[in-house]
């Protein structure tokens, strides 16, 4: 099972990690490689906070964080905690997840 966290702004990856109040957590069952079998949940934070998203990522045992702009200290914290961070990503979440699923998603991917 793999968990992915994406800060959201409507249906897009939020431009700023620290300013997102909605966070999407996607769970991919290990045995399935099909995109349709993903489990998704959206967590709504009471206020935007990079610390809260980092805490959420750790408590939910997230493996990969996909985001756009993230400050170095939060990026380094997540990496230090063993979470993979793919940052500087822009685009609609579905397209981004498709790219991730197809192993095309790297830092600096803009999908529009």
């Amino acid at each position: 099972m793999e968990k992915i966290l994406i800060p959201l702004m409507d249906n897009d990856v939020a431009p700023r990690f620290d300013l997102a109040t909605d966070v999407l957590i996607v769970t991919i069952p290990r045995e399935s490689s099909r995109r349709e079998s993903l489990e998704e949940k959206v967590v709504v934070l009471d206020h935007a906070s990079a610390e809260s998203i980092c805490r959420l990522a750790i408590s939910e045992n997230v493996n990969t964080v996909i985001c756009a702009g993230i400050e170095g200290k939060y990026h380094d914290f997540l990496v230090w905690k063993g979470t993979k961070v793919i940052d500087d990503v822009c685009g609609p979440v579905d397209a981004v997840l498709d790219a991730y699923h197809d192993k095309r998603l790297v830092p600096g991917t803009y999908i529009y």
Binding site: D12, P15, R16, F17, L19, E71, D87, C90, Y110
Partner: protein
């Protein structure tokens, strides 16, 4: 009075390339977008501040490129214009280098002849503070630099005229004397103050990384170079590049810096194409560059190019009256920061602070006061609140690595520092035992001063910075009559 003819103006800018080239020369970031916020044009400074590559962000919605807090809040481009006028706000953005940068952001609508909205133009400038003032008490302040000694006053008086030129500046002085602050104040007082102030410590990175950091690299220039990097020289376009610890710059890079100072063109690693950048270079070092030239560690021709204007910051022990002034200045700042109501120093603490040689200069004095304010539990800082090593300094003042007395003064003339009467060297030459009390210390200070003054009490009092009656009273107290 001549009036603007739009056709003439349009003729000057026949295509977007000419407009883009013109905008690239501006020291502030500019983005032009359509009414929906889709980016149509960004300039070089915008690329530098945000770290984006313009070819990748054109066509994106502005907020995905700028990543500014205002974009995700009340930006009229996203929420609709309530009133068609320019809006200016203090904001922050997260750059592609993952740094949060404070900026001044202005968004203005672009209207057609009928007054309908056609798009918007956005400008961003890095937020800097500008302080250059002289307070009525005769204390001179230049940003965070404070002083009233003649040497410092002379430097403060020179800064405004130095700031107005574009010549290279070389700042010398021992560690902790405020070279970085002075460089920043020169930038703030200059016409480039709206542009970036970029600082690079030449001693902090290995040679290979330093070259890429300073001059940038192209994608694929070396293993791991997965994207273009503009480099600090290009990031400082329209502003000032401050190279600190220039004495640690490797010889290979000295050649490259020399070439830049000659033609103002930067060649990134792996690229044959040069980029013109408009950057003022300010450098600083605590080393004696002339001695390094003699030892073949520093290029003589580079020294000549950098040494257009030279400022030397004197060590604190040569600034006499500035020590009590700086004590009070730091006390005031730190008591606010730590929320403590410390009113001042006891006489003994003052004497001790005045007598200390400060090998770490102003930075060390500031740290001493911070230590004392932290440990002070009353209204006055006593000797017991000061670090123990003040009572028995292990070493005499550590001068700069290479012959500090050979540094020229602010006027560019060499010479040994003059011995200032009453300056802070009243500590006894004989090391005291760690268990020595203040009484022992004071007695030793008096005896030492009397010995140095050849027994003349008035001269000893002057050396100690005391009045004759104070010395007489203290001699009686210690039974030295």
């Amino acid at each position: 009075m001549p009036t603007l003819d739009p056709t003439q103006l349009a003729a000057l800018l026949p295509d977007t390339d000419s407009l883009s080239a013109m905008l690239d020369e501006l020291p502030l970031g500019v983005a032009v977008m359509d009414a929906a916020g889709i980016l149509l044009l960004v300039n070089k400074t915008y690329e530098t501040l945000t770290g984006v590559d313009r070819n990748r962000v054109l066509g994106l919605q502005c907020l995905h490129s700028l990543r500014c807090d205002y974009c995700m809040g009340d930006c009229p481009v996203m929420t609709g214009w309530k009133k068609l006028g320019a809006v200016g706000v203090e904001a922050n953005l997260v750059s592609r280098e993952r740094s949060k940068i404070q900026v001044r952001l202005t968004v203005a609508p672009l209207l057609d002849e009928e007054g309908s909205l056609r798009g918007a133009v956005e400008t961003i400038t890095s937020r800097t503070t500008h302080t250059l003032n002289s307070v009525a008490t005769g204390v001179f302040e230049l940003g965070d630099l404070v002083g009233r000694s003649p040497q410092i006053e002379k430097i403060f008086a020179m800064v405004p005229s130095i700031a107005q030129t574009d010549s290279s500046v070389l700042i010398t002085g021992e560690t902790g004397t405020g070279k970085d602050l002075l460089a920043e104040e020169i930038h703030n007082a200059s016409a480039r103050s709206d542009g970036p102030f970029v600082k690079v410590n030449c001693g902090a990175l290995p040679d290979t990384l330093l070259e890429s950091e300073l001059f940038g690299h192209t994608k694929g220039a070396f293993t791991g170079a997965d994207q273009n990097k503009p480099g600090r020289f290009r990031m400082a376009h329209g502003g000032t590049l401050f190279l600190t610890e220039i004495g640690d710059l490797p010889l290979a890079l000295q050649v490259k810096l020399l070439s830049f100072l000659d033609d103002k063109v930067v060649y990134p690693l792996g690229s044959s194409k040069g980029f013109h950048t408009d950057v003022r270079v300010v450098v600083a070092t605590h080393r004696d560059l002339e001695a390094m030239v003699r030892q073949k560690l520093f290029r003589q021709d580079l020294l000549y190019r950098l040494n257009v204007i030279r400022l030397h910051l004197p060590p604190l022990r040569e600034r006499g009256g500035d020590i009590p002034l700086l004590q009070d200045h730091f006390l005031k700042k730190l008591q606010t920061r730590f929320g403590k109501k410390v009113e001042g120093f006891s006489d003994n603490a003052k004497t001790l602070l005045k007598a200390y040689p400060y090998p770490g200069n102003v930075r060390e004095l500031r740290n001493l006061i911070e230590y004392a304010v932290n440990f002070c539990d009353g209204k006055l800082i006593l000797t017991r609140h000061l670090p123990g090593y003040l009572l028995h300094p292990a070493d005499p003042p550590q001068p700069a690595e290479l012959e500090p007395t050979a540094w020229p003064d602010a006027s560019g003339q060499s010479g040994a520092p003059a011995d200032t009467p009453g300056r802070a060297d009243a500590l006894p030459r004989t090391p005291m035992a760690p268990s020595a009390t203040w009484t022992d210390m004071e007695r030793a200070i008096i005896l030492d001063a009397l010995r140095r003054a050849g027994g003349r009490k008035s001269q000893a009092a002057e050396l100690l910075g005391w009045g004759r009656s104070t010395l007489w009273r203290k001699m009686k107290h210690h039974d030295l009559g």
